[in-house]
Structure formats: C-alpha cells, structure tokens
Assembly symmetry: C2
Homo-oligomer: 145 residues x 2
C-alpha cells in the first residue's frame, strides 16, 4: 500500500463502507491511477487477491457512490473514483470521459462540462455521458518529440 491507512479508512467511512483489509487494498490501488481501470488491471496489481473479491468490492463501492462505471467500448467495464457529491442515492458524474486512441487509457475530465443538448420534443433527460476519443495530453507530447 502506498497510501496511509488512516487516509484510506476516512474515505471509506465517509461513504459508509465497512472497513476491511481487502477494501483498503482495492481503494489504495484505485488511488494509484489517474485513469479508469478494469478489474483485470486491479487483479494484476493486487496479485494474490481473488478476482471475485475485487468485483464485489467495486460493486459495493459503486453502490455507495465511491466509484462509477465507465463504458468505453473496450469490452470490459472500467471504473474510476467519483466526485464527492456522489452517494448511495445516486451518481452525479455527468462529465466527459476521454479514451485515448494511442495509450488506450480512459480518463475522467470533470472540468470539461457538457453543454446542454436539445433533444426532440417529448424526450426527458435523466443522465448523460459523453465519451470523447482522441489523443490524450500525455501521448500528444510524446508524439511531438
């Protein structure tokens, strides 16, 4: 673990998630990434930890509003830490997700707001998700060298 245990426990407590050794490990691994990760990514990082435990930890995190799922069309689910305003009642991560065509990482761009979209008459919006594909900052820098 690279993060302080107390720090991690605080995060779980704030979201009303029972503290367990496994969950601390999973959260610690999540915090080490700037980008969205898959269960496979976590499994590799956490070596002997059972895949199923990771799935269930993530599911619990999702239900309590600590992480949100991202469908980036890669075939496997990805997830990332939520904004602090998310909770058991629901998510409010209606921000941009960016999928880099070079490094294939998916990352959250919470600062890129999605402009309101005008839908045809009779449609009601409850949530939305914008997936932008292109070249991320990090890869763009490497290419220009």
């Amino acid at each position: 673990m690279v993060h302080d245990t107390g720090f991690l426990e605080n995060i779980l407590e704030q979201k009303q998630i029972n503290i367990t050794a496994m969950r601390l490990l999973v959260l610690d691994a999540l915090l080490q990434h700037q980008h969205a990760v898959s269960v496979n990514d976590l499994e590799k990082m956490l070596q002997p930890v059972d895949r199923i435990t990771i799935y269930r930890s993530i599911k619990t995190f999702e239900q309590r509003g600590l992480v949100h799922f991202i469908a980036d069309g890669s075939g496997s689910d990805k997830f990332a830490l939520c904004a602090e305003t998310c909770g058991p009642g629901g998510h409010q991560d209606m921000h941009v997700h960016f999928l880099c065509n070079v490094c294939h990482n998916t990352l959250c761009l919470p600062k890129a707001l999605i402009p309101p979209v005008v839908l045809p008459q009779g449609f009601y919006t409850e949530a939305y998700e914008l997936l932008v594909k292109g070249i991320c900052q990090s890869c763009a820098e490497k290419e220009s060298m």
Copy 2:
C-alpha cells in the same frame, strides 16, 4: 422479408457488400426497427439462422459503413444503421444515442447535435459519442395517460 428485394440489394451494392440471402435477411430485419438492436434481437427475429452468421454479417456491415456499434452499457453490443455519409473509410455518426430507462431501447437521435466540448489543453478530439439516459417520447406518452 417485409422489404422489396431490389431495394435491399441496392443498399448493399451502394456500400459494396456482396449480396447473399443471409445478408438480405439481416438487413431486412435491421430496417424493421426504429431503435438499435442486439444480435440476440436479430436471432429471435430470424429464427433458424445461425447466430454466428448474424455476427459476421453485422461485422461486415460495420466495416463497410452500413451500421455502427453503440455501447449503451447494457452488456451486449447494439448496432443501428448508419448515416449515408459513412463508408469503408470510417464512420461519421457522432450523434446522440438515447437509452430509455423505461423500455430499455436505445435509439439514434441524428438531429440532436452535440455542441462542441472544450477539452483541457493538449487533448485532441477524433470522435465522440453522447449517451443520454432518460425517458423516450413513446414511454413518456404512455406514462402521462
């Protein structure tokens, strides 16, 4: 088949897709839906046709720019007919996809344009996809009765 064979053949020819009996059946089934469909949907409609054939027909259609895939987070891939400007070179379906929380259908809203999104410095956009979740026109009407 509910559509005229000549009509269907024209569509395939325009996209440079070889005409076969199976592909006419699949295309015919696709044209019967206003919303995006899954391979499962098609399999039910086309009864004795092998699932693998449907997968491969769709894949061919996708490569030739006749249909585009939609990831709506439902777990299974969906696809819908493309705009006419799509071709083997690539797709230009950067329109809104709407997932109804009531009937769970996904539909294309080509007329709802996506406003330009301002990304952080250093990010380059190549494509984007907006998935809006809510209540579709048809379900909204039923609920208000």
